[in-house]
Amino acid sequence: MKRFAKVIFRTSLPLLALVALQPVIFASVDDAQSFALQAAEPYVKQGFQVREDYWGGDLGSGEKKAVRQQLFKGNEYWFWLGTEVDRAKVSVHVYDSDGKLAEEPDGWEKGHFAAAHVIPKATGSYFIIVSVEESPEERTHWALVYGFR
């Protein structure tokens, strides 16, 4: 009986460890997307339609990535960036095709959330620059969603 208990204990130990480490092991871009959508939530009530499709990936601390997106004059856009790493600091900024900062001054950054607001002056391609400013992790998942009205 004692031996049986030992076997149970030994086999359950790795399982317990797996359960405990699960958030670390299985953290993914999907988790980052959940946070980005969380940041977008208050804006839905203001009439913004948040797209289901999104961009995502992982970045090291201090790294940036550019996302190119077609925007239409007449619409108003918000881009929301999120990561599941709660001690990370992220930022998002939007530039037009000439490289000129194209965002409104009411964008915000708060820890692992950031958002940029754009009212395009012209229809065309814009560059959204996402950045992991600081993070305790070697690689930090990020996800960027956008909404328009």
Partner: protein
């Protein structure tokens, strides 16, 4: 307090010189905080005596400023050519993203663009994918026209087409939600469900490594959206309306993807590829305006392609 709820708020969006807050010599822009957190900062359970109130307000403000001051000001200009780490994935705009912008330029008679004919049943998967994208776009047009009956028909048609390419299971709940929302004339929900439908179809395709079919769904939707956009602008021309056609990078994206589909030996795919080559110089005009003749030409091309997508060879 839930995000978005209104409370007494302090506007912390302002420019301050950073010298008092940190050692950086450049101005630091204190960015406004997420409205979600504003009510939390300003809410309190009981009335405070003035001194405590000032003290707490002061501490709160300092903490807020210290927290926000960490956000470095974004450069006013960057060199786009030096961006070597660009994400290649494109999120193709939804038809209603363009229709919304078009609506703001003046009233549009959306009813005249509603299309509800069922069309033929194809067996070739690339053709079904293109048609599916087109039908989803038709759903957005029917929503603009607030045509409940057509939206419901389209919901069923989308489901049938999704089954045709083996992704029906992921669409069933969305088709149901579209019909329910159309019954209630809840157009915002229908729009959201149409977006979800397209996303679920594409995700299901990507999971089985059918990314190319997924791209054809987007292309079908984009073509139908562009057909209607040019039709509206052609009838009541305005420079702002024509400017909505300025989508050269999106066109390049589709052209690149089509070139990578040699295995799809379907005439319509090659016709679209050739036609997009014709469209590109008409809309890739840099800072110049798109003239009425170009709008007319793009309309002719997209109408021809649209007819090809819904018609058996």
């Amino acid at each position: 307090m839930r995000p978005g709820q209104r409370g007494g708020s302090i506007n912390v969006s302002q420019i301050v010189l950073s010298s008092d807050l940190c050692t950086a010599a450049v101005p630091v822009k204190v960015r406004s905080i997420n409205p979600e957190y504003e009510p939390e900062i300003n809410s309190r359970k009981c009335q405070m005596i003035p001194f405590t109130r000032h003290l707490k307000l002061g501490i709160g403000l300092l903490c807020g400023l210290a927290m926000c001051a960490g956000a470095a000001q974004a450069p006013q200009h960057i060199d786009i050519k030096q961006l070597s780490t660009t994400v290649e994935d494109v999120v193709v705009p939804l038809p209603n993203e363009i229709f919304g912008a078009l609506n703001k330029l003046g009233a549009v008679n959306w009813k005249q663009h509603v299309r509800s004919d069922k069309g033929p049943n194809f067996t070739e998967r690339p053709r079904i994918a293109l048609l599916l994208g087109t039908v989803i776009a038709d759903g957005f047009i029917a929503v603009q026209a607030e045509d409940s009956a057509t939206v419901k028909e389209i919901g069923q048609r989308v489901l049938a087409l999704a089954k045709g390419i083996g992704v029906g299971n992921s669409i069933t709940p969305h088709a149901k939600a579209i019909v329910e929302a159309a019954d209630k004339r809840n157009w915002e929900n229908v729009r959201q469900e149409l977006d979800r439908t397209q996303n679920s179809v594409q995700q299901a395709m990507n999971e089985v490594h059918d990314e190319k079919l997924s791209q054809l769904v987007s292309l079908g939707g984009w073509l139908r959206g562009t057909e209607v956009l040019t039709s509206v602008v052609k009838e009541h021309f305005s420079s702002d309306g024509a400017e909505l056609l300025h989508q050269p990078d999106l066109l390049s994206y589709f052209l690149t993807r089509l070139k990578a589909m040699p295995e799809f030996n379907v005439p319509i795919i090659r016709q679209i590829q050739d036609a997009l080559g014709e469209v590109k110089p008409l809309i890739d005009v840099g800072n110049r305006r798109i003239p009425p003749e170009s709008v007319k030409k793009v309309n002719e091309i997209t109408t021809r392609l649209g007819h090809g997508i819904v018609t058996r060879d």
